[in-house]
Symmetry: C2
Subunit: 293 residues, 2 copies
């Protein structure tokens, strides 16, 4: 079978990038897999692991001759990298990405692309709290969703090829507008991370003895938040800065609900608490039924 | 080997109670295991599962003749149950519990105990989001901490026996004052649950389509909160109502930190975000090193 792409360039060979490289290799989806990473250690490590055919620190070296370039680094670097690779992109080449924010991603990439190069942004809903090329694994994707956010003028063939790529990595592909994506992800992903970072941060501000005990007895609930709050700092800084309005809006709703709950505890309103906790249990059932548990 | 206790009565045969029954059975720690549960279905189910020798709905029927009674139901029922079992408790019997709040537990139990009956409160730091007699398993305890919060006048032999029981269930036993326990658990357990309940509640308030999408794409972070927010509603209502001051204090610290983070996002202060996210990553390392991950 002919591979889907002759040469795929993965820019940023961290958790997602190296997982994608592994899945492409396993599924035989590309003739050549090239990668670039601004961190020379990561590039060298990807080469040593054998998950790519070529590893560079210069993104243009990886993107030269590629029919697909996938941006897998933090959003804050999108504009600079796109400017760097633009001169080597041939007409008909596809540029895609995996970023957790889509409107800002498009705004950072689009102005720098040469005529005839297709932009097809996307977002695989998969990940762990780990980072770096060693953290990746091909089985990260199967059974999870991939959200494709094509532009109104995105090329149909290019869109279909990107969808095919992720489908053959095991994901189920859905389409969404970039704006809607950013509002859904603000609630389902960005707000939870923000809250987890905050609560773990609150614990770091405790006096030393108390902090040690919080870690020691973390199995009682805190532990789960520390996992989420161990996610890549640069990536998440860029997510919050680049989806500011939607994040602040969902945070505002959360704060109102938290204040109501605080008041119910202060005034001993047991029925209010019980009813809320019953409702949240139902949502868990939904998650389990949707096989996302 | 002689069992540690002739007759253990477990009042409340849910996740913790039925796990304890299974561990006691597996380790041969009691001659007879009796249980009582206000829910007749749970009592019948415990009997059918064979995790107890006797199952009752009347706590006094289970406690009669017991040398150890362990309260494993929500704290709100402690006073009533203690009053119900007090007439059948023989001098020398030990009453213990597994509640997540210790000062309120002691205040609810102590006034109703007959002279010569020993109170040894405790708290196994172990659990899952599941409830009911089917949810229990003997392996819930090994490798986890048990916090013993004896009173100043607690009987040494009784305290040692309760510590032995949990140690032989596989737990590591630590001592703490009830007051200190409640402050540590407010941060490590009660606050995380409160936050998880709130964020999942915020999602339930969304318009229907958005709510479905939040569930669908929950693998991006939200999922972990739904697990915690599926915990038993009655138990958690009682925890918040009975550790009010410590919970409100930790919530206040959290809210301050959240407001600072919100401000940093609004003003685009990337360095602030990055530094916080680096710090929280260190805490995760601590949790992993403490083997509580």
């Amino acid at each position: 079978m002919t591979p889907l792409f002759a040469r795929v360039a993965i820019i940023g060979i961290g958790l997602i990038g190296s997982s994608l490289a592994r899945a492409i290799r396993t599924q035989g989806l590309a003739g050549t897999i090239a990668c670039a990473d601004a961190n020379p250690d990561h590039a060298a490590r990807a080469q040593a692991l054998g998950v790519v055919d070529e590893a560079h620190t210069d993104p243009a070296a990886a993107a030269r001759g590629a029919d697909l370039v996938v941006l897998c680094m933090p959003i804050g670097a999108y504009a600079e990298v796109t400017q760097a690779i633009a001169p080597v992109l041939a007409p008909g080449a596809i540029v895609s990405d995996v970023g957790s924010v889509k409107q800002a991603a498009i705004a950072a990439i689009r102005p720098h692309l040469p005529e005839g190069v297709h932009l097809v942004p996307g977002h695989p809903i998969a990940g762990t709290e780990k980072s770096g090329p060693d953290a990746g694994f091909a089985d990260l994707f199967p059974g999870r969703w991939f959200i494709l956010t094509p532009l109104e003028d995105s090329d149909d063939t290019a869109t279909r090829k990107v969808a095919d790529l992720w489908r053959r990595c095991g994901m189920t592909v859905e389409r969404m507008s970039p704006d809607h994506h950013d509002r859904v992800l603000a609630v389902t992903s960005h707000l939870p991370h923000l809250i987890a970072y905050t609560i773990v941060g609150t614990a770091t501000n405790l006096e030393e003895q108390m902090r040690q005990e919080v870690v020691k007895y973390s199995a009682s609930g805190f532990r789960d938040f520390t996992r989420i709050a161990a996610s890549d700092p640069t990536m998440w800084r860029d997510v919050f800065l680049n989806n500011r309005e939607a994040v602040l809006d969902s945070l505002q709703r959360f704060t109102e609900d938290l204040t109501a709950l605080q008041r119910a505890i202060r005034w001993g309103e047991g029925d209010y608490l019980y009813q809320l906790f019953e409702r949240t249990r139902d949502i868990r059932r939904g998650v389990v039924e949707a096989r996302q548990a």
